[in-house]
Symmetry: C2
Amino acid sequence: MTDESTILAANAAFYAAFSMGDVEAMACLWADDDAISCIHPGWPAFVGRIGVVGSWRDILENARSPAITCHEPHAIITGDEGRVLSIEMIGPLALAASNHFKRVGGMWRLVHHQASPIAKAEIHASSDPFRPAGQIH
Amino acid sequence: MTDESTILAANAAFYAAFSMGDVEAMACLWADDDAISCIHPGWPAFVGRIGVVGSWRDILENARSPAITCHEPHAIITGDEGRVLSIEMIGPLALAASNHFKRVGGMWRLVHHQASPIAKAEIHASSDPFRPAGQIH
């Protein structure tokens, strides 16, 4: 298996745990130290095992959590560090997501996750300070 | 100087280049390869030197770009990899930001940037799928 296929498999495992509400699987996917962080949509950062895993427990145990799917995953790997960029769909919402991994004992473990709403329909020339052109996705 | 002080200095240089509209300084802060990526608020990912640096050129050369300031920077470092989490203020908008660095030749170079709007005032129990508690910031 290539580095790309193994990191994409780890990324798929993240979305499987997310969509199935599997708190224990989610906890195991994250690196087992406090150098982890997570920024959920609309929220400031969580840092460390207790904060990050606790935030996922709160989300996954919420019966109202909608279905999530991952689209267009794109892996970028440098040695034992890597990240997967993708588009998350949560119900009708689209988010630009990044999952950052480090390889520990041959396993890709999450060290950072961040998802940002993509709200093109809400962007207006008069209010949007960011109007770059030519994005990849 | 400690690793923390040097990565925080690199992070400060990023916001200095941003606030001064210094395209060349911004370009130099990013790692000099295509394993870089950037997710601006509301936009899908840019990947690679041309895409990422081009997106910053578009933003920084936009005379309408508002002032930006960085608050509560928090560094997480593991060897030659590190990230700085902070709150960005762009005009009245607050964003949760992460700047991801790798150390190359003794210099911290950016490999990923992502900023996500923090919109607590817009979050309602009926529509927000994410309601974690206990975030750090």
